[in-house]
């Protein structure tokens, strides 16, 4: 008998979780589904928000990437979804929810094939083929927007920004905010469009429509010393000196040692220290600066010195703010005042310290070389403003994208349906298993309009039938029919109702969703090492099949 009792071969560390084979793929697909379900209801103009509490912090958001990030997904396969949402966020800034949903739907469609025993690689091949065709068509379908006149261009940008804001808390004031966003982006250098140069400052209080755009820089009053209030708070065409220098009475070197013999010399040392700082201050004043900003602290001595000479100063200005001031005013940050040259000073039309809500803000307006803008956001609650900031961020990213790429497609699920129609049509011309798979891809694409309709409380089956029929009729008329959340019939031509998105968003969404789906399909084994220090408290309660370890009575 003993020959049947094979010795157990321990290959991996005890507690290592391995699972493999077809079951593993199916299990991964299910996990992805569960995660996608969480964000599902945020899609579309009638999408809802999620409230997620992590520790003492509460976040209310509609942004797919933000939600997935806060969920702290640990399942290895489901993490892939989080990653694609993040990459979509970094790359285009919008469309994170639809990417996630699409990936999950592709996997869901693949599940029956896997269960029936089709090799995952065949499914992957089919999906890749379908993606290739879809992208090709997407290019063909997308519309070039005439941007001959600046107004046309601006209009397009406004429409795209509004589409991005549609599903957010700001939907009711989208007109207002799209203007704000477009104006802000227009301020940037059109060749680079550096997102970092648009600052968003949050001030609680006021209504959202009290938000405003500063064509220059705004930042909160920094910490100030006594004497600050005696400084002038308003300048026209000031000379702005930007420093990265500490203006404070302090020891020059940490470990310096000086030996003096006579008590009289003591005073000299004290005086020398004062002379050092006074020399710095004097150089600044002599150079004719009217506003002095520094990244490092400006001490009370310097504050009072400047106050006496009608100069405004602010120390401890945040790095990004200083950078924006530099861009806006054309000044250069100096690290020393030796040989301070008035040419390195920046200027702006108007400098003012104003009260915004409960805070005082420094505003640098009408900057000559303004390549930067600041949006000051107002609103009732902290979370509200934070969500507004995220929404504006999406809109800014979209407008930035639109600024360059001049191709758009219609939203509201119209483009997905059109691609789906095309793929279904194509599938008929192929033989073999690929036919099924391309068909599934086509079906998966429909998840976008279906979810939009579901979230809006419409009868999704009816809407989908109407849409499929419109698209099947073909031609230019039917092409842009999408879900209409306001009208009676539930469908409309979303192109003519100005639901526009840059085709780039869709392109990226399709690519990354397909890639993610393929990646998950090709995993057939997971080896998960146990945590090095097993903390029984960390283990979820009531998990079957795994008795708590190390319990002794």
């Amino acid at each position: 008998m003993s020959q049947f009792l094979q010795p157990t071969i321990l290959l991996l560390r005890e507690g290592t979780d391995t699972s493999q084979g077809r079951a593993q793929i199916v299990s991964n697909i299910n996990a992805v589904q569960a995660v996608a379900d969480v964000v599902k209801s945020t899609l579309g103009p009638r999408g809802m928000d999620k409230m997620i509490q992590t520790g003492p912090k509460v976040t209310i958001s509609n942004d797919g990437a933000t939600i997935l990030n806060l969920l702290e997904v640990v399942h290895p396969a489901a993490r892939v979804l989080v990653d694609i949402a993040k990459s979509q966020d970094d790359e285009v800034g919008d469309g994170t929810t639809s990417t996630t949903l699409l990936a999950a739907e592709l996997l869901k469609e693949a599940k029956p094939f896997i269960e029936e025993g089709i090799h995952p690689q065949i499914v992957i091949q089919g999906y890749r083929k379908a993606l290739e065709l879809a992208l090709e068509k997407l290019e063909g379908f997308s519309i070039n927007i005439s941007r001959d006149s600046p107004e046309d261009k601006r209009n397009t940008l406004l429409k795209c920004a509004q589409t991005a804001l549609n599903s957010k808390l700001l939907a009711n004031t989208k007109q207002f905010f799209s203007e704000l966003v477009v104006s802000a982006v227009e301020k940037l250098d059109p060749n680079i469009l550096d997102r970092d140069l648009i600052g968003i400052k949050n001030v609680t209080g006021g209504s959202v429509t009290d938000s405003f755009l500063v064509d220059g820089v705004a930042f909160k009053k920094t910490f100030s010393y006594a004497g600050f209030e005696q400084q002038p708070k308003r300048f026209e065409n000031p000379k702005i000196c930007l420093l990265n220098l500490e203006l404070e009475l302090k020891s020059e070197k940490e470990n310096a040692e000086i030996r003096i013999e006579k008590p009289e010399e003591y005073q000299q040392i004290v005086d020398a220290e004062w002379a050092l700082i006074y020399e710095k201050l004097e150089t600044i004043v002599k150079a004719g600066a009217q506003i002095v900003l520094s990244k490092l602290p400006i001490g009370d001595l310097a504050t009072q010195y400047f106050a006496d000479r009608n100069i405004f100063c602010a120390g401890r200005v945040a790095q990004e703010d200083l950078l924006r001031v530099q861009k806006a005013t054309g000044g250069q940050v100096q690290t020393t005042v030796n040989g301070l040259n008035p040419e390195t000073f920046g200027t702006c039309g108007l400098f003012e310290e104003v009260q915004v809500g409960a805070e005082r803000y420094n505003l640098f307006k009408n900057c000559p070389q303004s390549r930067t803008a600041t949006i000051v956001l107002r609103g009732g609650a902290e979370q509200f403003i934070q969500e507004a900031e995220r929404s504006l961020n999406d809109a800014i990213m979209i407008v930035r994208r639109c600024f360059k790429a001049n191709k758009i497609v219609a939203g509201g699920g119209a483009i997905e349906l059109e691609l789906s129609r095309y793929l279904r049509h194509y599938a008929r011309s192929v033989t073999g298993k690929t036919q099924y798979i391309v068909n599934s891809y086509a079906k998966a694409l429909e998840v976008i309009p279906r979810t939009i309709a579901e979230n809006a409380g419409l009868n999704s089956i009816e809407i989908m039938n109407k849409l499929r029929q419109r698209h099947a009729q073909g031609g230019d008329e039917g092409r842009w029919y999408g879900v209409d959340i306001n009208g009676q019939s539930g469908v409309c031509d979303t192109h003519s109702s100005f639901v526009w998105e840059p085709s780039l968003v869709k392109r990226n969404a399709l690519c990354s969703a397909t890639e993610a789906a393929c990646a998950i399909l090709s995993i057939d084994e997971t080896v998960k090492n146990p945590k090095s220090d097993q903390d029984t408290k960390m283990k979820p309660k009531g998990q079957p099949g795994r008795p708590p370890m190390g319990m002794r009575r």
Binding site: S27, N30, A31, M48, M51, T204
Partner: protein, 535 residues
């Protein structure tokens, strides 16, 4: 959150610490959010209006505060629930922006949520409700602007401002003295206001509290009060025609910032050092004296040696004056802050009519009053009262009143209080509702009902029958086409708020309605709550 199982019955973990997280979805989430927020609003509703009650709040350290101010109450309640926290922030942002009406905004949000709950039960999609609220809010705001009246803030010795301050103070514990306190607040604000730019820097009004005496003893000092006394008990207590020297360096031998130590090897050297030090003190006092200063205020401390010398030289001095006080004094007296003794010049001295040390009651505590300053741009309100709690509450009340006056200087349009403005808006919104053909109609109508909740809450707090009095007021508004009819809280025999002179600022009312709608919209948009499962 429950575990998920795959098709083979194996559980899998998706989220970190999944077992310890709680998730609420859909209708359950809406309802729990609304109920939590409503609970807060209900707590506050009894504080609304002139007959509103106070709350006593005990902090974890055992500090007791009694207040009627909405923002303070919700802040001290230390609310945990995430949705309820939104209301706390709502109240605080009203406080930051307007300063007054912090209770009203929360109560209104509560009423709106209450209405939303019934609408949800009818099966209306939450976003339809929030759309409706939004449209109703726009109508209400527009109507508020049409019924608002401009007042002349200058006329009749700023009578209108005083009345508005009285309205703000009316609901507070100090309401008995509202007229006096209102006057103090108005004078204080006008003293520091820049009427051309319509800007008021509230930092220039210092509110100082001192327990003892009664609220009637509260007074306005057209100058500065600092909670310090002369550095030596034998120094003169009063200086007239003061020339103030403001120092930010200590009366001590100067020290280099570089690390240093002194090695002494002989007794002579020690003596020499001592003399040197003495010389420093003498020089310092001399420099101050020579400039013509007759009082020195120092941000830092000084040595006993220096103190003694100052007394001998008949130079009163104050030590450890805080940085903000130094700044205020500099602004008020036109002084320049002097960083070291060598730089003292007669031009840098500040001038004030008098600086005197005053003593309160029998306590040994003294304060320094600087009055008749050269450029009065800073004022102090000294609040007195029987107990710390009363003084604190009076401080908050005066702050509210000051904010109201500031808002009137910024924008001199007013609406009438006593719930009349809300009623007028409700009537307007109701009319508008009938013109809307979609589902939003219900939401708009509910918005009107919620607006009516404010006067009814007022009436309730005053012991009137809320339903009859609101109904009467509403009927009269419609019959007489008079938007000034409100609730007669003080039982003065008239419901016309213009006669009762209950003024509220338009900006505050507008803000209340806008902020409340905004937050309600936000709460209605949440359909999923994921939180740690520990409460």
């Amino acid at each position: 959150m429950s575990l998920a199982f795959d098709d083979y019955g194996r559980p899998y973990i998706i989220l970190r610490e999944q077992g310890s997280k709680k998730r609420m979805k859909g209708l359950e989430a809406y309802k729990s959010n609304i109920l939590a927020a409503k609970a807060i609003a209900n707590t506050l509703s009894s504080s609304l209006g002139p007959k509103g009650m106070d709350k006593m709040l005990v902090s974890p350290d055992g500090d007791v505060s009694v207040t009627n101010d909405g923002a303070t109450i919700v802040e001290k309640m230390e609310i945990q629930h995430p949705t309820a926290k939104l209301l706390v922030e709502l109240s605080q942002s009203q406080d930051a922006e307007i300063g007054d009406g912090t209770t009203g905004v929360v109560v209104l949000a509560g009423k709106l949520l209450e209405q939303a709950l019934t609408l949800l039960d009818k099966g209306i999609h939450p976003l339809k409700i929030s759309d409706g609220f939004d449209r109703a809010c726009d109508v209400a705001i527009k109507h508020l602007e049409t019924i608002s009246e401009e007042i002349d803030i200058q006329a009749n010795e700023h009578e209108a401002l005083i009345q508005a301050a009285c309205t703000a103070l009316g609901s507070k514990v100090v309401s008995k003295r509202k007229r006096e306190l209102g006057k103090i607040a108005v004078t204080a604000v006008l003293d520091v206001a820049d009427l051309n730019r319509k800007d008021v820097n509230l930092d220039l009004i210092k509110i100082q509290t001192k327990t003892g005496g009664s609220v009637e003893d509260t007074r306005l000092i057209s100058g500065i009060l600092i909670d310090k006394d002369m550095s030596h008990p034998q120094m003169v207590k009063e200086v007239n025609d003061a020339k103030i020297c403001l120092l930010t360096c200590p009366f001590e031998p100067p020290k280099p910032k570089t690390k240093h130590n002194i090695n002494i090897s002989s007794a002579e050297d020690y003596k020499k050092l001592y003399q040197q030090e003495q010389q420093y003190f003498v020089d310092m006092v001399k420099l101050v004296k020579d400039s013509g200063a007759n009082i020195a205020l120092c941000q830092w401390g000084f040595d006993d040696e220096a103190n003694h010398l100052l007394l001998q030289n008949n130079l009163p001095a104050v030590r450890w004056v805080s940085g903000t006080d130094v700044e205020l004094i500099a602004m008020a007296t036109g002084a320049r802050i002097i960083p070291r003794f060598q730089e003292i010049t007669p031009e840098k001295l500040g001038k004030a009519g008098s600086v005197k040390e005053v003593q309160f009651g029998t306590s040994n505590e003294r304060m320094l009053v600087i009055e008749n300053c050269q450029c009065t741009k800073a004022v102090t309100i000294l609040i007195r009262g029987g107990s710390q709690m009363i003084v604190d509450e009076a401080k908050r009340s005066i702050h509210d009143a000051i904010c109201v006056i500031r808002n009137l200087i910024k924008d001199n349009r007013i609406v009438y209080g006593g719930g009349s403005a809300e009623l007028a808006c409700a009537i307007q919104v109701l009319q508008y509702a009938d013109e809307v053909s979609s589902v939003e109609q219900y939401a708009i109508r509910s918005f009107a009902d919620a607006l009516e909740g404010i006067p009814s809450c007022l009436a309730d707090n005053c012991g009137l029958n809320p339903i009859t009095s609101v109904a009467q007021a509403k009927a009269r508004q419609l019959q007489e086409n008079n938007h000034r009819i409100g609730i007669d809280c003080m039982e003065l025999g008239t419901t016309d708020m213009k006669e009762q002179r209950i003024y509220e600022t338009l900006s505050s009312k507008k803000q209340q309605i806008q902020l409340a709608t905004q937050v309600v919209k936000m709460i209605l948009k949440i359909d999923d709550v994921i939180a740690p499962d520990d409460y």
